[in-house]
Symmetry: C2
Subunit: 304 residues, 2 copies
């Protein structure tokens, strides 16, 4: 198994945006995450799909070199999400969620997966996140995601997870809900006092902020003329971020900043098409070129 | 008169935020703009106040070295704005607007003001902006602001102004209304095709984007633990931006980027207190220090 292990969802999405729509297209947090990460490092995936999950999607993930030993196929239907975006692309309106086999998902960790270098605990019940964490040899870097459903309903269990992770990656609404404060600097102080060494706040079209005890790093999102479908941008960001860190082995503040940019680069590609269509035809040279464009986007000279 | 001329409003604001309130405190776009700019260059102000405008505010503006030859005092009351912010500090809710003497404001340009190096046309009727522009020797740099009221109600007159300005500085909602598109890259293409060489889009707590024909520059807002009152942040930004450019005389892309950071620095100070209270006690060393902090906030190394 690879350096980077991810547990999360694999789904079939039905998505409508002002620029098109897709029915039962490949989606899910672990799908976006692992595909993005696969451009940087070897990845193992722990997730569940139903009997109806198309073989072509399995073939795609395998073509990305992703280890699917941990992808269970169970009786029943695959997790389905249906959502819509208005012109205000920053926010999805969920129309329907059918958890199906994901509802009873209990991550099984194959023997070969038990010593990952980097672990990403995708957005699942905090107790399942904790269970996964207990079943592997402590990776050199553990990151996790969550959502308001757990923040509001499983707060204590969630804090127990956060005590044990290095990086929490959430969006700004979730950060404010977790910290029970509208000011992100105050939220970061609270979160960093409870375990994570880094808090990464995703702000969609407005970019990302990373807080640690000593510094803050901020990057805008890459301005795009054609954003067709924002679905999966946050998970793609996390995949690029952790994929780069797993690849380098470097955990310095400088590497973390570069990882933020690689995550932002990957997310900027994902939103250019529906599902993972842009990532299917992406090559590493394009990633490097957009990283350089990010530098031009944000650079300014010191003054004397 | 100084290098930088501004026409806009001087007002008395009544503001309430979750962190305090103030009644009839010093406000107005030209007030914030000129005070911020005064840290960088000499400024002349064209505005109107009523008989009730406190002498202490005049004394404050004078103490900042601002030339008030163009500040008319007329019979009647000073422009008053009353607004409130919820915890979502990014948006003001206007409770009351009393234009008073500002309603019939016709900018008079003193002879000594007729050859400014840089001109900022604050948010007034586009025909008045055009009138000011016609009455001065063409400055080396002209920037303007506007608002949805003029974008929706005086679109043709506004485009006539924009044909003649170098820089349009507006917030993201205004940009989308002006370009009639939710995508800012598309809006920028349209705006840049109609006159301005630079479009600057202010996004409040999310920072700023600057577009020109060849490049985009993006900067986050400075993350602050204590934001007490966002009023005037946008005008302060514009004052810092144009003040720096007026001071340097440099119009290169590199100088524009530094100016964006100086504008952001000034705005970050303004929001720390009500009215212009933070700017009253600010010194240039603090501005330089925060500029350096901005560099640390946004810097990342190239990858090999």
């Amino acid at each position: 198994m690879g350096k980077l292990l991810v547990v999360g969802s694999v789904a079939l999405d039905t998505v409508k945006t002002p620029f098109g729509e897709g029915a039962d297209i490949l989606g899910g947090s672990a799908t976006y995450f692992s595909t993005a990460a696969s451009f940087f490092t070897s990845v193992g995936l722990i997730a569940v799909v139903g009997e109806d999950f198309p073989q072509q999607h399995i073939a795609f993930l395998k073509s990305r070199g992703i280890d699917l030993t941990g992808l269970e196929r169970r009786p029943g239907s695959t997790f389905r999400w249906k959502g819509e975006y208005t012109h205000q692309l920053n926010e999805a309106h969920t129309l329907d969620t059918q958890l199906n086999v994901f509802e009873t998902f209990r991550p099984q960790i194959p023997e070969a997966y038990r010593a990952p270098d980097v672990l990403f605990l995708g957005n699942i019940h905090p107790e399942l996140q904790l269970d996964v964490l207990h079943k592997v040899k402590r990776p050199s870097l553990v990151a996790c995601d969550t959502m308001n459903f757990w923040i509001n309903g499983q707060r204590e269990a969630l804090w127990k997870v956060l005590e044990k992770v290095d990086v929490l990656i959430i969006n700004d609404g979730e950060a404010r809900a977790l910290g029970q404060d509208s000011n992100l600097v105050k939220v970061a102080k609270l979160v960093l006092s409870r375990g994570p060494k880094h808090l990464i706040v995703k702000r969609g079209e407005y970019g990302v902020l990373m807080f640690n005890e000593k510094q803050i790093f901020g990057a805008p999102a890459f301005p795009l003329e054609d954003v067709r479908d924002p679905t999966g941008a946050g998970d793609t960001f996390a995949g690029g971020f952790l994929g780069y860190l797993a690849a380098t082995g470097n955990r310095s503040s400088e590497a973390m900043r570069q990882a933020i940019i690689f995550g932002s680069v990957m997310a900027s590609f994902t939103v250019e098409s529906f599902s993972l269509d842009r990532l299917r035809i992406l090559d590493y040279k394009e990633i490097q070129a957009r990283f350089a464009e990010f530098k031009r986007l944000t650079h300014f000279e010191d003054v004397q």
